[in-house]
């Protein structure tokens, strides 16, 4: 196994996974999904910083697709 990881420890990558990780880093692009998550997260963190709490309503449960 070329990845070793534990709860409190580092993620150690070697072998083919290290090569693949390096390639992903070199060719990585900004992800729209991650950008949106960061935007949502910034808003939540701003609320958290002001009040110590983030409140939100739950959305309707998503339908499970087989």
């Amino acid at each position: 196994m070329a990845i070793d990881s534990s709860f409190l420890g580092a993620t150690t990558v070697s072998g083919d996974e290290a090569k693949a990780f390096t390639r992903m880093m070199a060719r990585g692009r900004t992800s729209g999904v991650v950008s949106q998550a960061a935007k949502n997260g910034r808003q939540m963190v701003a609320e958290f910083a002001k009040t110590g709490v983030v409140t939100f309503n739950l959305k309707a449960p998503a339908k499970r697709v087989a």
Partner: protein, 167 residues
């Protein structure tokens, strides 16, 4: 959602998959001690006016170490094999709240914490998670990329990451 507190009820989290029992055990036995000790920070979802934990996420500082591959470095002009990161170490959602976007919000919050509160003040490039098999597609949907299969804490998992520099 707020920080874990000493008076929170951590014993009633219902997870339907027996494979997720370690997440219940962690919340019940370890989360408060680690939170108080600043070894890991846990944020919880509770219903307004209640203290029973319905979902939680735990984060801590870590690193990605790239070994046995010396021809290239993961980050241009960064000659070291260890890259600072934040680990999304635990995430669990009570059965009552599943498929309602709670997990997605918890991940968004952790990303927000990293980019707003950590990265402006200290070195941190990645968000990493060791995803259980049943959670890999969820993290892919949130933009995590697979590094590979890992043997985390004796359990099979998939190590995944987000490059926070590209948010």
């Amino acid at each position: 959602m707020r920080e874990l507190q000493q008076g929170d009820g951590c014993s009633a989290l219902r997870l339907l998959d027996p494979a997720l029992t370690p997440l219940k055990t962690f919340l019940r036995k370890e989360s408060k001690h680690l939170h108080q000790s600043h070894l890991a920070r846990t944020f919880v979802i509770v219903k307004t006016g209640q203290t029973r934990v319905m979902a939680y996420v735990t984060t801590l500082c870590t690193q990605i170490s790239v070994e046995q591959f010396r021809d290239q470095v993961p980050i241009e002009s960064f000659k070291y094999k260890d890259c600072p990161a934040i680990k999304l170490a635990r995430l669990a959602i009570d059965a009552e709240l599943q498929r309602k976007g709670v997990g997605s919000r918890l991940v968004d919050f952790v990303i927000g914490l990293a980019v707003e509160r950590i990265m402006p003040h200290t070195g941190c490039r990645f968000l990493v998670v060791d995803a259980k098999p049943q959670s890999v597609s969820f993290y892919e949907h949130k933009g995590f990329k697979k590094i590979g299969e890992a043997g985390a804490d004796g359990l099979s998992s998939t190590s995944m990451f987000i490059d926070l520099h590209r948010t």
